[in-house]
């Protein structure tokens, strides 16, 4: 009687142990599958960060004159490009690429915004930024601000902007700047980076895959 009882307890224990092992194995397999889905992003053209980076508070101004802070990056994906309106080659080319990205992502469920931030706040007033971005797309957002506020943001994003003074023509100086497009996630974190050569088709395809696993 007692031995039978003990053996049934043992059997129950064994059953419990086997179930636990099976559950663990299933969990391991599932997590492996999910991790693989993450790892799948390694073949993107974009640089997809292992951990998205939260942004320090910043305060800029959009082309309508409204404050543009961390809040303006919450609740939707944002493509950000840094440039300036006196830039006749790289910036119009990139905004035109972004316009093509916007056309390709028009039917996406995830809301997306396109933001052009000046690295030349001395010449780029909100009005000037508005004229520039709306030439490419009426929904694009132009952003400028004080030199300090902009460099505070560029520094934390690893964006480079360096003014090159022109000895002949002081007014028409150039600004060297990062030519990549940054992707900010709906939690306002720096999530991925698209580096030149920029192709709208690749950017849109990569974005869809990034947004799917988010």
């Amino acid at each position: 009687m007692t031995t039978q009882r003990i053996s049934s307890i043992l059997r129950l224990g064994l059953l419990f142990a086997v179930t636990t092992v099976l559950a663990l194995a299933a969990g391991y397999w599932t997590s492996g599958f999910l991790l693989n889905r993450q790892a799948d992003l390694s073949d993107l053209q974009a640089t997809h960060f292992r951990e998205a980076r939260a942004l320090q508070p910043f305060e800029l101004v959009d082309h309508t004159g409204k404050a543009f802070t961390n809040n303006a990056l919450m609740g939707h994906w944002s493509f950000i490009f840094f440039g300036y309106t006196h830039c006749p080659d790289v910036c119009p080319t990139t905004l035109s690429v972004l316009n093509s990205v916007a056309t390709r992502l028009r039917d996406q469920a995830d809301p997306v915004r396109y933001i052009f931030i000046s690295v030349d706040p001395e010449r780029d007033t909100p009005d000037k930024m508005g004229q520039f971005v709306s030439y490419f797309n009426a929904d694009f957002i132009g952003v400028t601000g004080t030199t300090e506020a902009i460099s505070q943001l560029t520094q934390q994003l690893g964006v480079i902007a360096a003014r090159v003074d022109d000895a002949v023509d002081a007014e028409n100086y150039l600004v060297d700047h990062t030519a990549s497009i940054l992707l900010i996630d709906p939690d306002g974190r720096f999530h991925a980076l698209f580096s030149p050569p920029l192709k709208a088709e690749d950017i849109a395809a990569d974005f869809i895959r990034i947004a799917q696993v988010y």
Partner: protein, 158 residues
């Protein structure tokens, strides 16, 4: 048939407008100026310059009655950073050609003297070191990728 003759007429008009100086050994094709957003102070021009001569031709200065100043620049992207490097003179080797295109070499057109819109035409004077010069009339073109990819090449002719 009618379309062909219109196309031929356009082609002839383009050929005529692009190459107006016959004594230069240079031929300019695929020339266009990117229409800029309103209020822009700098525009970019692109073109292919071919040298039909057996000697290298050097372009020392480029000017335009429509702009204060014209410079040749090359866009260089190094470590993800775009830099514009001034090009002092354009050398086109014998039977060679230089290509000015978006993201590469281009003409910087500073301070337009009039508002330029798509459809306008701008005269550019290319001054050679041997004192010959060539005037090209370059159309202003609106490029916005979603409007139709790469319509920058619709001025191409053979």
């Amino acid at each position: 048939m009618k379309q062909t003759s219109i196309a031929l007429g356009t082609l002839l008009a383009l050929l005529y407008s692009l190459i107006t100086v016959a004594d230069s050994s240079l031929g300019v094709t695929e020339a266009w100026i990117r229409e800029a957003p309103p209020g822009a102070d700098v525009l970019a021009a692109y073109m292919v310059i071919a040298n039909r001569d057996v000697d290298t031709v050097t372009i020392t200065t480029i000017s335009s009655p429509d702009f204060e100043r014209v410079e040749v620049h090359r866009t260089l992207v190094e470590d993800g950073v775009a830099r514009m490097v001034p090009v002092e003179s354009l050398q086109i080797t014998a039977a060679g050609r230089v290509v000015l295109e978006p993201g590469g070499m281009h003409l910087m057109l500073f301070s337009p003297r009039r508002q330029l819109r798509a459809g306008n035409s701008v005269a550019l004077d290319l001054q050679q070191s041997d004192s010959a010069s060539i005037r090209v009339n370059v159309p202003v073109v609106k490029i916005n990728a979603a409007d139709g990819d790469d319509d920058s090449h619709h001025h191409q002719h053979h």
